[in-house]
Amino acid sequence: MKVLLTIRAGGRVQSKKPVSADWLRVGRNASCEIHLPDPRVALEQGMVTRPDEGFMYVAGEAGASDISRKGVRQVRLAPGEPVDIGPYRMELLPPPSADYDAAIQLDLVRPLEAASDLATRSSQLTLGSLGLTKRGAAWLWALIVLGLFVALPSGRVLDLPWRDAAKVSTFGDRFWNPGPLMLAHQPIAQDCGACHETAFERVKDRTCLECHARIGKHLAPHAQPAGLFEGARCASCHREHKGVKATHRDDDGFCVACHRDLRSRSAGAAALDASDFARDHPAFRLSLPGEAGVRRVRMGVDAPVEASNLTFPHDVHLAPEGVRSPVQGRMKLECRGCHQPDAARQGFLPVSMAKHCQECHALQFEPAVTAREVPHGKVSDALVVIEEFYANLALQGVPDSFRKAFGVPGEGLLRRVGEPTPSERESALKLAQRKARQVGEEMLEVRVCKTCHAVTRAPGHSPATPEWRIAPVRASTEWMPQARFSHRAHPHVKCAECHDVATSKRSADVAMPSIKTCRGCHGGSRPAEGRITSNCLLCHGFHDTRYPWDPLFTPRSPQRASGRVADAR
């Protein structure tokens, strides 16, 4: 068959050509005789055939529903009865001339919509085109931070409308806290207003003193010339928010600012200048009790001598071969035998006659007869005991004791047969009194008391009836009251390393360590090889701890202040 094939689209003829074949395949495949280049058309959609009479359209591929009447696999083509093939409408027309068997016209009735190109589909090619915004995020976050950390917390202190909300809020002013409070202040840590009362004003001393009401003064009045501490606040030295244990400044600058050149700050200052323990610190001063009270004596300058009024040679007691004890035989004495630590183990209990001396140094006055001792204390009490002893012996002594004590044969007056005559009584009394005086004198001046004490006869008494004075014992117990020394902190150091007493023959020898001894281990405030870093506050406190700092204090008059300085020297 031969047909004239016309393909039209949008009312315009796209192609018009004669086609001759036994059958005409319809499809988008280029090899189809009726080629319909449209993706909506199947590859080989169908076929136009011409059996005996007329034209038939036979649907080709399965599922290609291109025939007007559904379910029909083939249909007869006739003019005026078009058939839908995909978007095309096919119609058989009468042959245009005798050369043709027929004409077939295909109309594109549903044109393909223009396919969008890649560029039009890809409109969001940058992050900005996705609706992300730098400016919006910047504003949002900045406002959140300002709201949470400025506006909300300042409600209380600035008395803003949300004052109460700021108090209970988790986002109150606690996020302003720059560091942990010291332990004692932690109960009020959540309440900034407890100390920070007014906005943009520093914490006032008054606020501290509300709780610390009984703190008193921090400085002895004499150590506080007018103006020296002017402007100082509690917080000048006491720092908060610096850790749970930090209560105050402990740097050397704190002390050295004044003590480097003390005289320029305070003309009447008694202490020498100091700026660093290792490099610039005066020799220690010792407190020595004397007749006129406690004297302060500079070591290495004044050659300190202890006037304790005791006779005590350390060398004898610490002799390597030991001492002879009447109770324990030969024994070696240790320092701790007499110097026993106090309860805090910082210093030592006073040496006591009864506990530490008397076992060897018994106060026996008539050892041949009795082990009795006189009481340690007042001379008169001791003498009374002696008098009573010998009087009793003269009255009731057995012959053996009587002879040993009085050196003459006899026995107590009351032991003799018969009533004693007045002359016998008188002679017994005199014997007892003479012996008692002799023994008392010997005990005091020669044998017992004199061993340790300075004993003198009181002036104004006849040799027959003497009286004695025992010099008051002034053993020093607090040698360095300005230093905070703890023996407990030095357990690994032997006593003798600091206190050289092994060769000391006199109690006047002072065995306190010099600054050189301490410097053997302790350095200054700067770390140094082989030295313990030691700043001022390791050994010293802030001035006189009996006078806590009182910022409200003003001395009554300059005279009063400087007068007290002189006393302190």
Binding site: N29, A115, S122, P178
Partner: protein
């Protein structure tokens, strides 16, 4: 003339300046003997804090300066060079200002934000040192618009050819023609990939779909496949380029808002310090 990056600007002028500033601050910190311990409230702490705050304000001003095209105060390259180096020095200055005292508070918040801003900034510098080279290597003399035009041409060609192919194959091609896109979502832009790209799917499933093609159809199929491969190549190139551009942009979406958050935290820090003096 060899290209000089902003890091080398004026013979490393700002690098030297930043090193000098850092050394000065470190020396002062080591020399300083503060009461108690170093923190922001000593005289050195206040000094370092003031320097840090002024630096932060000045660094923020860069955002204004770079938009002032008629400004004559230095060049934008110079400003950027200084912005990078002094911004890095800021980390040292502010760390010394803290005296290493950190905690759960607004002060540490400001410090951490400062670190975050500088960190994102340094990431930006890193990107600007790497990505432009990668962009050139990726695109060569090509441009993105050029790629789009080429893809459109290929699309036309593919469309024409694919009509001669069976429906199953045509469906793949059609999806590629109609559904392929560039960008469109954050992850696609930033990763430079489109896991649901129909063109890639068409390429992957082509072998399976075109197995039964024979004769002319097989030949057309091969040609179409070649065109699809070329299209996919172009798409990958374009997506890499989009990714590069997104990367050059993305860090700023952190850097800038964090910088303003830092400004707010800095205000909070200063207010908090002086309101409870």
């Amino acid at each position: 003339m060899r290209h000089r990056s902003i890091l080398e600007y004026a013979q490393f002028r700002w690098f030297k300046g930043a090193v000098a500033l850092t050394c000065l601050a470190a020396a002062a910190y080591l020399w300083h003997d503060p009461p108690l311990k170093p923190y922001g409230g000593t005289w050195l702490g206040y000094t370092l804090g003031t320097i840090g705050a002024v630096l932060i304000l000045w660094l923020l001003w860069y955002g204004v300066r770079k938009r002032r095209y008629r400004s004559t105060s230095g060049t934008v390259q110079g400003w950027l060079s200084a912005h990078v180096y002094l911004g890095t020095a800021l980390v040292v200055i502010v760390t010394l200002h803290t005296g290493f005292e950190l905690g759960w508070n607004v002060h540490t918040l400001a410090y951490l934000l400062m670190l975050a801003v500088v960190g994102t900034g340094l990431y930006g510098v890193f990107l600007y040192l790497r990505v432009p080279r990668a962009m050139t290597e990726n695109l060569g003399v090509e441009t993105q618009a050029g790629i789009l035009l080429k893809v459109n041409d290929l699309d036309r060609e593919i469309r024409a050819k694919a009509l001669s192919l069976p429906d199953s194959v045509l469906a793949l091609v059609d999806a590629s023609l109609k559904g392929t896109r560039l960008g469109g979502s954050f992850s696609r832009l930033v990763t430079g990939r489109d896991p649901s790209c129909p063109t890639a799917a068409a390429v992957t499933r082509w072998a399976e779909a075109s197995r039964r093609l024979t004769g002319d159809a097989a030949k057309v199929g091969k040609e179409t496949y070649a065109l699809l491969l070329r299209k996919q190549q172009l798409l990958e190139q374009a997506r890499r380029d989009l990714r590069h551009k997104a990367l050059l942009d993305l860090w700023l979406y952190f850097h800038v808002p964090l910088a303003f958050m830092l400004l707010a935290a800095l205000v909070a820090h200063v207010v908090a310090v002086f309101i409870y003096w």
